[in-house]
């Protein structure tokens, strides 16, 4: 009986939320992306990205993302995104767990983020926090010398779109310290340009480019890396 009540208490809010339609019309989709990337540490390298979007209902969507890099770095991320429609735009909560297996350096970088966002046709803003654990593969369970915890980091993302969200094409500009496969420290911004074009009802063409400087905010700023990304999304 107690378990039934608990189950009902857990499921009831989901059912209530599912009763209302959400912002936008996102469908189950799979995205394949190829990337060329350069940074001063890893040099020139290529990445292959695989992403799956699962809109569970109008108020919950889930995303899984994987990246395989020729720099011998492998990243997986899962996002659960509750969202609530407002008279204008949509409020969403961003929960994100990301693990980056930096095999080349024999360490793992795990981050967990919680943020609140607001999305309208032409702008999307997210603000939140995240924590990081860097963990050496040569782990000794009797020592705390093989991992480093960075407990508090600010997460921010401001994205401006040229067209409404449901337009068949769009162009966006983003200022953020996080993207699909990295969560940088708060003083390490990323500058991105994104674009998409809907070829037909099912296929979408995606483009993105990103510039990563280093030393901004109280060091001497300079160019550090850049990424170009192109790929397709199939919407079911």
């Amino acid at each position: 009986m107690r378990n039934t009540i608990l189950l009902f208490a857990l499921l009831c809010p989901l059912w209530l939320m599912a009763a209302n339609p959400g912002f936008g019309d996102r469908r189950y989709s799979v995205t394949f992306l190829g990337e060329y990337s350069y940074n001063k540490t890893w040099g020139h390298h290529g990445n292959f990205d695989l992403q799956a979007l699962m809109p569970i209902n109008q108020h919950f969507e889930m995303e899984a993302k994987f990246q395989f890099s020729t720099a011998n770095v492998y990243t997986g991320a899962v996002q659960l995104r509750p969202k609530f429609q407002l008279p204008v735009g949509e409020l969403f909560v961003e929960t994100d767990i990301m693990y980056r297996a930096v095999v080349r350096n024999q360490l793992g970088d795990m981050t967990a983020a919680l943020g609140v966002g607001y999305r309208m046709d032409y702008v999307s803003v997210t603000l939140g926090v995240f924590s990081r654990i860097l963990d050496d593969y040569q782990r000794s369970w009797h020592s705390n010398e093989n991992y480093v915890v960075e407990p508090f980091n600010l997460l921010y993302r401001l994205e401006v779109f040229c067209r409404p969200q449901n337009n068949p094409w769009n162009l966006s500009f983003m200022f953020s310290n996080v993207d699909d496969y990295q969560m940088e420290r708060m003083w390490q911004p990323l500058f991105s340009i994104g674009a998409w074009y809907d070829i037909n009802e099912h296929w979408r063409l995606n483009f993105a480019a990103q510039c990563k400087p280093t030393g901004m905010f109280h060091l001497d700023a300079t160019f550090y890396g850049a990424t170009g990304r192109v790929g397709f999304t199939y919407k079911f």
Binding site: N39, K40, T41, W42, G43, V102, R104, N105, Q106, L107, D109, L134, D136, Q138, E145, N146, Y147, V148, V149, E150, P151, F152, N153, Q182, E184, R185, M186, W187, Q188, K212, T214, G215, M216, F217, H218, L219, D220, A221, T222, F223, Y224, G225
Partner: protein, 291 residues
Amino acid sequence: MTKKILYIALSALVFMACANEDSTLDMKGMFSPNGETVQVRFAQSMAYNDTVGEIHLDMHADDYVIYVCTDSHITRKSHKLLDYFIDQYNAASTPKLALHLGDHIDGQKNYPCVDSILNLANDHLFNALGNHDIYFKQWPIYRSYFHTSAYWFDTNNGNKKLDLFICLDSAEGSLGVDQTNWLKKLLEAKSQEGYRRIIVFTHTHLWKLDGSQGHTSNMALEETYELTSLLAQYNVEFVWCGHQHARQSVIFKGVNYLVLDSSKDSEEGQAYITVEMGENCFYHYHNYPKL
């Protein structure tokens, strides 16, 4: 009218921040490349290093003491803590050397002042380059006084090798391609030479452990991964840094990362450290008195 006043006030603030020689921040340098990049500085440093040759310090003992301070941010009017540090260093009777981990000055036109203070050190003193040291395009001036931003030296007792010290230029939050390759080759070669310990000192810290970091940025994540693994691979024992003006200690992969307090006059509760180098290694914080 209100908009115009606001615009003028804002412009004046930005102009003051950029142009006033006593201002501490180079707003332009914080947001875009300002003067020589680390690639250029590193090339110039290597050229200088080649002209002077290798530096081997004979300490005439196995045990000696290192005095380390950072972030003195001196101006012509404000340099009491750095004076005190040099006095303490000069007063020590043991074999010794000193390190300054960067951000020697604030603003502009303060190099003659810091040089006159550091020249009072009556023994070996080595410097790392900080971001404030090159704000307002001051790398050529830093270079004219301190010559190099990336170098190594070692300590000996007669023919007996003791410790290896490597200074890195991290003022941009990146070592750059050439300096990283140089560091790899240097560690690979020197780790075979039987040094007692290897110590790296630089300005920028690698971790963001708590709020004490304030608004000071680190290196990019990729560089953090690579550098920490490289230092661990070659058994570097200590990395000494400054930049965040608050002490911090963390051990990762067997490397002890130590961030020092500042030596800036206007800040309270600041400290320098002394490190007893011997068979074992101990470091001690020394709070500056109120001066």
